[in-house]
Symmetry: C2
Subunit: 401 residues, 2 copies
């Protein structure tokens, strides 16, 4: 008997048939004597439909507080429907909203951080032998206002529950059957992995492999929650994500691309000490997450700072920069959203010289120009023109794997 | 400066244009220096759409607890959208769910009673000079589970807030511009009233005039909340509902019909003391509200008890009766849903003999058979075949008004 946390995304519960499919997957585990907590996202297009409704009222959407109020209704609908399906199949079940399941977050609406999961109610329901269905993506701040966790938030909800409840396993159901060395829909030679370490997965998640949300992997690593990424459609083992994995021959674990990148250049900055600090400090106040940073010397005692952010944060980044006009002199800001990041990931890469040059060679052979480069212990990323994204992934994948 | 509670139904906020229409009505009052709390129902067909989703999972609908979880998402969407419209128009606003607005209810899911409104948060937001938008129809029970108040629950939510906040006026916006002596869509000679007493309104509400929910009028009477029933489409005075109204010439204030009636007969009951007590006690345990009761002597030392309930409670009533088979012997149960109740209401009626016979005469002249009769100090109701409902209302209305 184990405590298993299972997370299903919106497409897995998009209609009544799929809801029953998910219900049966849950009941299979429950019947084996396991305690089961399930985290669900909003059904299919519900979130997009709600966003459309908001845009009919205000093209820019409502305030973030009201957007959270609106969007959190989506999971409320899906948890109730999934609970009804399990009731109909004759098993004890209860649905809980984020706040009912104990999710306390900070007050950063639309992108809140989980502060704590108060497990009292969860434990009570599990003790009553109920299957517990929890609304992913949402929590409550200290003012009793509903918050949402941002993109991929339901993964994070699932891992947070698994950590707080000391679950034996946290299963993330997706539309792929595990973690691959590249996107299997794009690269035919992509290989599925049985295991991958948190660090490698983290790089792949951050880099846009889109299998798992990076915040959820960070949290899994921090609390040592064993994750499994598996298919919501087929019943077969997926990929286990954990601290230590057995070494495999392949040095490079995966190739990932990330289209959700904007490249922002601040041109003609005064070349004095503290400029970078002031700039990135302001961006952090605007909650903008920076990825790659490049600083170059410009002309006439000026310098340029270029950095990448996720595309949905580029407006916030520009707003932050414009708010600094008084304390920071610069010539202009350039925003380029037609870029893409391609990365290779593999533990132990840093002790193997030649990996970087092999990657650059593959891109050179494919005629693709590199705009920025960033490296860490276990990854190398390059920024390229978005239109070459898929061919770059294929070229690099075939070179290594 | 006054504190005004305004309630808008689902059709008033059915689309973006209507949401802005409502927003402007609210802002008009706010601009005059008033504090404004607004109670809204779910948009247009949202509730029906959610019920359809539940029926796709389970024809009978889910458990009542999960139905409440599902349906309460409807108001969550409408309050957020209305708040966004007011934001867009440049006024300070906040939306609150039932539980955030302090609604504590009992645990009778889908038909919960309000126990208390904790006004702390409402008062805080009003002190901050915010327009407060509250989700009608919903609350929270002592187990922190979401409950809903049943049909017309948003009216009750509005009156409960007005009572708890000691509001100066509670305005209920509807698709008619006030309370009429009969349904103006059906009876051309129907007259709008400037004022009506709680008691008269209560009879009219109970009797199916469908302008105001009867629980809301009961509550308004209990806490002496002045109500105004007015049009959500046109800007003009409506009908004021309060304790004492100036006497008018007309003895009969209104004629109402109620189609939401089922007539249930328990045939062949043992004719011993305590039978009626046992029967209605059990029905009250099943939370079935009884309206008219008729007892008649049957054959062979048995008796029949016939009563009416609202049509949506007829299944519960039958379930209650079937659960009593061991302690109560009866021959069979008959359910007739093709009936309708037509009533006349007017204070001081009891001191005027001949009112009842005048009503029966009108029905006789129209060739309509009376199945049951019920009277109180201020009303006379008859149960008739549903197909004669409209002609009965017209006949009675023309006789008196």
């Amino acid at each position: 008997m184990a405590l298993i946390v299972k997370k299903f995304g919106g497409s897995s519960v998009a209609n009544a048939e799929r809801v029953f499919n998910v219900a049966n997957r849950i009941i299979d585990d429950y019947k084996k004597g396991n305690d089961v907590i399930v985290v669900v996202s909003a059904q299919g297009d519900t979130t997009d439909d709600l966003i459309d409704k908001a845009k009919e009222i205000n093209e820019k959407g409502g305030s973030k507080r009201e957007m959270d109020m609106l969007l959190s209704a989506g999971e409320q609908i899906s948890i109730a429907l999934l609970a009804m399906a399990i009731e109909k199949l004759g098993y004890p079940v209860i649905s809980l909203l984020g706040w009912q399941a104990g999710f306390e977050t900070d007050s950063h609406h639309t992108f809140a951080r989980i502060k704590k999961v108060n497990t009292e109610r969860l434990k009570n329901e599990i003790e009553k032998k109920k299957i517990v269905i929890v609304a992913g993506f949402q929590g409550l701040n200290r003012y009793d206002d509903i918050t949402t966790l941002g993109r991929g938030g339901s993964d994070t909800s699932a891992v947070a529950i698994a950590a707080a409840m000391k679950a034996d396993l946290c299963q993330i159901y997706t539309d792929v059957d595990g973690v691959y060395s590249a996107d299997p829909r794009k690269v035919k030679t992509a290989q599925k992995m049985d295991e991958i370490s948190y660090d490698e997965m983290l790089e792949l998640a951050t880099l846009g492999a889109q299998v798992l949300n990076n915040r959820s992997v960070e949290m899994a690593k921090k609390y040592n929650v064993e994750l499994e990424v598996l298919s919501s459609l087929e019943v077969k083992p997926g990929t286990i994500v954990k601290e230590k994995v057995k070494m495999e021959k392949t040095l490079i674990r995966g190739v990932a691309k990330d289209n959700n990148v904007a490249c922002i250049s601040v041109v003609g900055l005064e070349d004095t000490p503290g400029i970078a600090f002031k700039l990135f400090n302001k961006l952090s106040q605007y909650k903008v997450n920076i990825d790659i940073i490049l600083q170059s010397v410009g002309r006439d005692g000026t310098k340029d700072i270029t950095f990448t952010v996720s595309r949905d944060q580029s407006a916030d980044a520009v707003a932050a920069l414009e708010a600094m006009k008084d304390i920071l002199t610069y010539k202009n800001i350039k925003v380029d959203e037609s870029v893409c990041k391609v990365s290779i990931v593999g533990a132990g890469m840093e002790s193997n010289p030649g990996v970087a040059s092999k990657m650059f060679e593959a891109l050179y052979d494919a005629g693709i120009n590199i705009q920025m480069i960033s490296t860490s212990e276990i990854k190398i990323s390059v920024l390229i023109d978005a239109k070459y994204a898929d061919s770059a992934v294929s070229a690099v994948h075939d070179k290594f794997i």
